[in-house]
Each structure stands twice: as C-alpha cells, then as structure tokens.
C-alpha cells in the first residue's frame, strides 16, 4: 500500500502553525499531533480544504499509555477519496480524558466515539448519544485500559477475575444516558 508522497503539509502547518505538531511520516502515513481544543477545527479544515479533501473518516480509537503522562490518546485516521492520501491525527489527553466530538464533521464518528468511550472512558463532549456500545449498561470500569485486568474483576458472575481495587474512577463509569 503506497501513499502518494505529494501530500503537501505546508498549508496545514501554515494554517495552524504552532498549535499543531508535525510528527513526520510513519510507514507511509503523515502524522500530526493536535491539541484537543483544536481537533474539530482541524478536522473541518482537512475535510473542506479543496487541495486536501480528507472526506472519509476511517477510524477513531483510544490508546492508553499508562503509566506515562499524558496518559490517553485519541487517534483519528482519515482518508482522502479524491487524492488517495491517508493521515493520522493524534490527540493527547490528560486524565480524565476529554475531547470534543467530531460527530458534526462525519456522522460515522458516532459509533467510533462510543467505542472509545466504552473501552477507554474518553469522554467526547458534544456527542449526541454517548452510551456504552459493547459492554452492558450497568458495567463499571473501562476494560481496555491498561490497569484493567485481562480477566476482569472477581464477582459472583466472574469467579476467575482478579482480586483488587475497584476500577479506576467509578464515577466516570456510571451510565451516561441523557
């Protein structure tokens, strides 16, 4: 899979300047780090700019870099259907992780963000319907965080789970249905 190397990063850097960080190219994909407050603006720019046209959102995922700080990351993979370029946007997030939702830019972001919320507890502000998607509604904790045991916590339904403290930040884990 080869990406046309002619993605011109100059207009992107010119427009956002110091606010974003150019992380170079990783295995054929351009990588930018964007602060969470800029993410929606950055996505709109990439989508609407006539030279770039990143109109297809491939994927949004959460990453937990425990025990490093900043601990969380939201990673966006975009694709430009007219230009056939890919781009990766990384959004480093503190604890508790919070980032504006891009559901306004692409409707497909809806479920990706719900998944990242479910698995990592990343709160996407402005998301129309931020519920758990895989785990059941009363579930506590965020299972893909690095400090969540692989077999879960021991309870009456899960005798093989790990003994231990309750999941991190149970207040965040409660149901978030409006």
């Amino acid at each position: 899979m080869s990406v046309d190397p002619s993605l011109n990063r100059a207009p992107i850097l010119e427009r956002f300047g110091e606010a974003i960080e150019d992380l170079g190219t990783a295995h054929g994909i351009e990588v930018f780090a964007v602060p969470p407050e800029k993410i929606v603006e950055f996505c709109w720019f990439l989508k609407d700019d006539p030279a770039l046209k990143f109109n297809f959102l491939s994927d949004i995922c959460g990453v937990d870099h425990y025990p490093e700080t900043p601990r969380y990351e939201a990673v966006y993979h975009l694709y430009s259907l007219p230009n056939k370029w890919r781009i990766r946007i990384k959004c480093r997030l503190g604890d508790p992780p919070e980032v504006p939702s891009v559901t306004g830019v692409w409707r497909t972001a809806n479920w990706h963000e719900r998944e990242a919320w479910d698995m990592y507890g990343i709160r996407f502000t402005g998301h129309p319907d931020l519920r758990r998607i895989y785990m059941w509604e009363g579930f506590e904790g965020f299972p893909q965080r690095k400090d969540f045991p692989l077999r879960g916590y021991k309870d009456k339904l899960n005798p093989f789970g790990a003994e231990g403290p309750p999941p991190t930040q149970p207040d965040l884990a409660t149901r978030d249905i409006p």
Binding site: M1, S2, V3, A26, H27, G28, I29, V31, N55, F56, L57, S58, D59, C61, V63, D64, V75, H77, L81, K84, R86, R88, W106, R107, T108, N110, W111, H112, E115, M119, R132, I133, Y134, M135, W136, P143, Q144, L150
Partner: protein
C-alpha cells in the same frame, strides 16, 4: 356494526395509534447473528432504529495485547468468520510493514488467491441470504452448494474449513498441496455458470426486485459521510477499491474491474457483490497463471520457522529457532502502523502500536461491518419494518466482526 365503529373512533377524533417499541433480536433469523434492534414503530412504519451490539464482544483487541503476533492470527479468523483469509492477510501486512519485510512472491500469490476465494465465499452468502430474509429460501440452498466447494478448497490448503489461520508473518504456513491446481481450475470453470444460475433465479424475479429496487437508497455523499466502504460504498457510485487505489501484495499485477453502481439501493448492493464474484474468479485465474515457483515463506530465522522442517529434527540451531519462535515469538520494532486492505465487507484496517516487544502494545481493528451497520441510521427512505430487514440484509454485517 355502527356501534363498533363509533367505539373505535370517537366522534371528532382521528383514529389514535400508539407508538410501539419493538425488540428485534438478539435471537432473530433476520439479524444475521446476535444483533438487537430497538425499533420505535408507528404501525408498520419505523420511526427510529437503535441497533444494540456487543452480544458477541470477545475483547479481541484486549486479548491481542497479551498474545504474540503469531498467536493473534486465530483471533483475526474470528472477526469476519465468512472470510478468514482476508483477515489474516490484513493483520500479516500490518506486522510486515512494522518489520519492514515483504513475503516472497509465491506467498503473496497464495495469499491473494485465498483472499479472493474468501471474498467469493463471503459474497455468496449474502447473495443467498438477502433473498432469504425477504422470504425466498431457494437461492440460499444454491449458494451453499458452491460455498461447500470453496470450503473444500480451503480445507485442502489449510486443513480447516472455516478458521484457516493460514498466513504467517513473512509468508504462509505451507505451500499449496498436490492436486490443488486441478481442483481450483475445475471450480473456476464451473463457477461463472453458477453465478448465471443465481442471476436467473433472482434478476427477473418481480418479488425480489420489488423488495429491493429503490429501497434503502444511500446517496454517495451520505455513504461517505457514514463511512461505508467496500461494495456498500461502490453501490452508491463511489469508485473506491483499496485493491486498485492502494495496491498491496500483487494486486498491481492483476487486471480486474472495480464494480460500481449508481443506484445506491438494496438491489445495487446485492448486484455489486454478484458482479464482484466474477471479478474474483478472473483474479484467481490470473493468480494461477502467474504464480511463480519459489519459497512460501521468508527465509529469516528471527521471524519464520525453518523452511525445511526436517532441519528441526537434526540441527540444534534450527531446534532452538523453532522453540524460541514458538515460546517467545519475535520482537517487532517500536512504531505505529495503520494498514488497510479491501476485505469482502470493506476497508479492514489494523492499527498496531508496537513497543518493541513480541506482543503488540495496542491493536485496533477497523472493522468494516461495524461501520457499515451504523448506516442503518442513515437510511431514511426505508420506512416499512420489512424494508428495514432488506436494508440490513443488503448491508451485510457479520456480527462477529461488528462486536470484535
């Protein structure tokens, strides 16, 4: 009689209907697995649909973090279980990119051949399952006959019918077996006429056409906005196929047509897949014609088992290599990679973060079915409940891939 009517319809008031909340699934034959749809119904009309997924959630991504790279292959099998070779291929390509290696040419041909067999197998199922959802059972029985042939071919290569786990990082597990070529040639000869059979069965079938044509139309803009990929996107007129646009393996050496339709309705989505099967047969025939002799796996002791298995029994170094790779795995350089292929359902991407150890730090699967299923929201003109079933069937989600 008049009394009854007056009871039902009090004077001056229209007939009152109540909104009904209906649970469709998770155990329902039309939902292709354990999908639960919460429907708000106004009579026969669907006012709102809320898909609840997760009944099949196995935590593939979390599990992968505690598995070595070779051990993850069986996990990828179980994503889209109709076409495991594609999933294996997608994962292998991602890891190979991180390692900076490429499989030998023969292995690439074998992988592509199997991926295309898998594509046919996956598309066959929806070719028969969509009419079945709409009440026509016959087609499903016919496609199962041909699917069985593919199963036999896969069993011949891998020893397994469904969960093949045949790819390895840097190649495939074994070479093609003796007697395989005549079998697959026979399949290639028979299959196009079988596709004609399905078409004859359904193409001019008034009931099937009425239930699919103009139903669940998704415009090109909507399809992109909703993140549809694969045949679902191409059926809306967007000409995008990763095999052609970002060629991986040996797809740039092959000649095939990317099938698109402009209608964007259920029939177009079904039709796209039927036509893609023909292209897959063409690809397989080209693979067979072009496939060179050579090793089926990279010769790299740090990554792959010894090519000659006999050496494990008589050479100390080969034994250590075999043991080390089985027990410890191999280190993958730190870095991040996103690699996508054109799986039968759409863009199947693996995003892998490696920290230099033999296990991935993070593996994210961009599952096409997960994204495609979401498009149920976006389908506005399928208003009858029965049409919703047609749309769901034509989007062709595999729940194992949706739930990961």
């Amino acid at each position: 009689m008049t009394e009854v009517t007056e009871l039902m319809r009090p004077e001056g008031e229209a007939l009152k209907t109540r909104e009904v909340l209906l649970n469709l699934g998770p155990q329902h034959p039309s939902t292709h697995g354990v999908l639960r749809l919460v429907l708000e119904l106004d009579g026969e009309y669907v006012e709102r649909v809320d898909p609840h997924v997760g009944y099949l959630h196995r935590g593939t991504e979390k599990l992968a973090e505690s598995f070595t790279y070779t051990q993850i292959f069986p996990l990828t099998d179980r994503l889209d279980y109709l076409c495991p070779p594609s999933n294996n291929l997608a994962f292998a390509l991602a890891v190979e990119k991180l390692l900076g290696i490429e499989a030998p040419i023969r292995a690439q041909y074998i992988r592509v051949l199997m991926a295309e067999l898998a594509r046919i197998s996956g598309h066959l199922l929806i070719t028969g399952a969509l009419p079945m959802d709409l009440g026509a059972m016959t087609a499903l029985l016919y496609v199962m006959r041909e699917r069985e042939m593919i199963m036999d071919l896969l069993e011949m290569i891998t020893g397994a019918r469904m969960h093949t786990s045949f790819c390895r990082v840097g190649g495939v597990r074994e070479d093609l077996p003796d007697g395989f070529l005549p079998k697959i040639r026979e399949f290639c000869d028979i299959f196009p006429s079988r596709i004609r059979d399905y078409e004859r069965l359904l193409e001019d079938n008034r009931v099937f056409l009425n239930r699919t044509e103009g139903i669940g139309v998704i415009s090109a803009e909507d399809a992109i906005d909703l993140g549809l990929s694969g045949p679902n996107l191409r059926a809306s007129g967007v000409d995008w196929d990763i095999r052609r646009d970002e060629p991986y393996e040996i797809y740039d050496r092959l000649d095939f047509t990317v099938i698109t339709r402009d209608e964007g309705d259920c029939y177009a989505r079904w039709r796209c897949r039927v036509d893609e099967m023909r292209e897959s047969i063409r690809i397989i025939e080209q693979c067979l014609a072009q496939m060179p002799e050579g090793p089926f796996q990279i010769d790299m002791p740090t990554i792959a088992f010894p090519l000659d298995k006999e050496r494990v029994h008589c050479s100390m170094e080969a034994l250590i290599q075999h043991f080390d790779l089985s027990a410890y795995g191999f280190n993958v350089p730190a870095g991040e990679v996103y690699s996508a292929i054109e799986a039968p359902k759409g863009e199947l991407g693996f995003y892998i973060i490696s920290d230099g150890s033999p296990k991935p730090f993070r593996m994210k699967v961009r599952a096409p079915s997960f994204v495609n299923l979401q498009a149920l929201f976006g389908v506005t003109n399928a208003r009858y409940l029965a049409d919703m079933i047609a749309v769901l069937g034509s989007l062709d989600p595999v729940m194992a891939e949706v739930d990961k």
